[in-house]
Symmetry: C2
Subunit: 299 residues, 2 copies
């Protein structure tokens, strides 16, 4: 089954304690669509400027991502600049230039409207809702979000929660959204707000998955000794998650658990290099290999 | 197989944002021996003062813990006073009165010397080493430790690491001991320092287990919505861990994984009430019940 990914496509400038890179391919839709492409067909909706480097478009094409929905607008591509601290967990945003993304209104090509599996990548909840209004008979819709939208667009986000099957966010965001200090209580509160499921990402500590009927799953991250750049890991988690659901066309809780694991594994590869450089050369067999090792790590 | 537990026996004064309790039964050996007692016979080595409340001794007796090695010295029992912040993760020590513990030298009764499974609870590494010198032909020796000893007794701790099969410590302590920011590298460095295995506790995020031959296991904590008092949870983890090993008399890595889970479950009960109040009324069947639920939470 195909996957629809809507989100940002960006040029990232990233500083870590050991390196600095400019004009990297970034954005929630870029990471998520490439991650999902390891599992089947992907349709991308986003916007870039006329400065978007052709090699980035080629990467999408190489991953056989359908770019019918990738709008090219006059002007500059959305640009994010950030810096990581020594522990690679704490990150500060140095600058955000929205550029063509400022007026982005996702428009789904007619052929995309009946895509059964949908990932609303991390963009403003009002835009995510406008996608919900355009899709027909989806089987499973996942929305990703971030602290910014909880702070500045809470009513839209709360409305979105009633329109999607699952929310993905990280632990501090789950606490922020629910004003709960305990993550288990926070997860339960979120599924009571609308979505059937919520995945709470905890970075190096893995992920918790909650279902509205009391279902629960907890898994660690894949053990990595070196993290070159965690940017996009959360988007890759979401992309791998929805990709696995679409490939198996099975939305049982047992299969959501496996989707969490597949997302975790793709995210682990993402952290090994800057931008999408590791995923660019990743083979499906490597995901399967890491899955086998992970099986012995968690049970 | 019996378990030998050596450590502190204390009277704790604990403040949380919602409650305050004095003269609670505490100390690493108290928590660990009661936790281990759910799995089989336990022998305790420690010291108390002549003020030690009889009801605390009765609790040990009720759990059928052998107290031949519990010395009663003239003077006051070791007393620890601490306060938890609202999130129940951050704790500050308000006062420490060593009292009779100041001159404690663990002396193993002759009948204890050939105990096959040994837990060196969290006390000074020099004392833990003196126990190693007194035991004969142990099958598996686990040492627990804390930040204080890494700071003030590092040479003793480093020497101890070559004399035990496994070290237990928490994530920040693993980083402190190895001067590594990445927990996976930290774990690998510790097993290279001597112990065959290391368990790195991460509180609400669960536990990582490393083996010297590259073995690895990662598990989450049991999901708890309310934590009344996390004091002693780490000691209960250690007690449940060694208790399970002793009951099964199996030190394979597959069984160490199960021991981590059993320790996790006993620790989860510990957090539900102050001191040992929950473990005092805990039934073995409740551990089995939580084990069954946990199985579906992690796989």
């Amino acid at each position: 089954m195909p996957v629809l990914v809507v989100g940002s496509v960006a040029l990232d400038h990233i500083k870590t304690p050991t390196a600095e890179h400019r004009q990297l391919l970034g954005g929630s839709a870029s990471y998520a669509s490439v991650a999902a492409s390891f599992f089947g067909d992907v349709r991308l909706v986003g916007v870039v400027g006329d400065d978007f480097p052709p090699q980035h478009t080629e990467l999408f094409a190489k991953r056989k991502i359908d770019l019918t929905g990738l709008e090219v607008a006059p002007g500059k591509t959305f640009c994010w600049s950030g810096e990581y601290e020594l522990n690679m967990n704490n990150r500060k945003t140095l600058s955000v230039e929205l550029n063509v993304f400022e007026t982005f209104q996702p428009k789904l090509p007619e052929a995309y409207r009946e895509t059964p599996y949908v990932l609303l990548g991390n963009i403003a909840p009002s835009l995510q809702r406008s996608v919900c209004a355009q899709i027909r008979k989806p089987k499973f819709v996942v929305a990703d979000t971030m602290d910014l939208w909880i702070s500045i667009a809470r009513p839209d986000l709360v409305a979105l929660l009633k329109e999607v099957d699952m929310l993905i966010l990280n632990d501090s965001e789950a606490k922020q959204l629910t004003e709960e200090d305990n993550l288990i209580r926070a997860g339960k509160k979120i599924v009571a707000m609308g979505p059937r499921y919520v995945a709470v990402k905890k970075g190096e500590h893995g992920c918790l998955l909650f279902g509205r009927d009391g279902e629960f799953f907890s898994t660690g991250a894949y053990p990595l000794e070196t993290i070159h750049d965690p940017t996009g890991a959360g988007d890759c988690f979401a992309g791998g998650f929805i990709g696995h659901l679409a490939r198996t066309d099975d939305t049982s809780f047992a299969n959501l658990k496996e989707a969490v694991i597949q997302g975790t594994l793709v995210a682990s590869y993402c952290c090994e290099e800057f931008s999408l450089r590791r995923l660019e050369i990743l083979a499906e067999a490597e995901i399967a290999e890491r899955r086998k090792a992970f099986g012995s790590y968690i049970a």
